[in-house]
Symmetry: C2
Subunit: 159 residues, 2 copies
DNA sequence: CTGCGTGCAAACATTTTGCACGATG
DNA sequence: CATCGTGCAAAATGTTTGCACGCAG
């Protein structure tokens, strides 16, 4: 077990793109590069600005098109916290390890990350995913759990 | 058990509005009326058209403003399945009884309702909600669980 | 060389906001 | 009768699409 050298599968996604019959282009590489580095769940616009630093001539439409492609290929997850915009995360990326969910305040819209319930969550999912998958003939690739409510600050303000 | 007369709690929400210091207006009544009758999770636009049948002069902006008000008051839940628009449901309404979650296809966007895991879900939530609520000082009023993946039809189409 | 993928700009869809009028309490 | 709430229209925001050009294979 002595592989110490940063794991670095330099571009594990290239083969995936080829397999799918898609071309390997600058924008796509840049976007995947960014996604594999960014820790949190960036929105399309955030990704756009990050990619621009790496590949300045990129257009926002390309970011959207590439993200849609990657979602369909199953390389990234599209998340929606009800903010009016989507967020994205690499399936096998930094965020995948720190898999977490969210508390969403219905007053101020604040999003609190919470990653504490790993064990209980897995237990629950193990019980639930297989039957669902079978019953609906649906191949589950990801899940997302949100709790809605009122945050500390909003409760203090308005009672 | 012979109450046959439609249950009709004529307007349980009026007091709630008053308590909050809000006026009791036509549009608000109409919107709550609709929400308490509709079974599924209507979008703002769907609500708008339904309310129009009951209160024709209503404007779409009022629907949005009222929905935001009701969310803040905790009378309705705002849901987002990543379709680019929000959906709403009454907290204590028909949908509340048939509490369910969703399978979302990342290929075609299909939304499949699934309501089968009541017991396991409650078990999980019981374990998880209290600690979360305490740790983040967050009053949980609702939750939402989604599974993302690829539906039967899309798998058949594209392998 | 043949398209697929791209950048740009315009189109779209949903939601929010500004304003003057009207209704509620 | 003082505001709060409303309808309308315009603006803002996020995402998609049409088109001609250029690069990957």
């Amino acid at each position: 077990m002595r592989r110490r050298r940063a794991m670095a599968p330099p571009c594990w996604w290239r083969s995936r793109l080829r397999e799918g019959g898609f071309r390997l282009t600058g924008p796509r590489e840049a976007i995947l590069q960014i996604l594999s580095k960014v820790p949190a769940h960036p929105s399309a616009e955030e990704i756009f600005f990050l990619v621009k630093q790496l590949y300045p001539q990129v257009g926002l439409a390309t970011v959207y098109r590439t993200l849609a492609l990657l979602v369909n290929m199953g390389l990234i997850h599209k998340l929606d916290f009800g903010e009016g915009k989507a967020r994205y995360e690499l399936v096998q990326g930094p965020a995948a390890k720190e898999h977490h969910h969210h508390l969403l305040c219905i007053r101020c819209g604040k999003v609190i990350d919470c990653g504490e319930f790993g064990e209980k969550e897995r237990e629950f999912l193990n019980k639930v995913e297989a039957p669902l998958s079978e019953k609906y003939n649906f191949q589950i690739t990801n899940h997302s759990i949100q709790f809605y409510g009122i945050c500390k600050e909003c409760r203090e303000k308005e009672g």
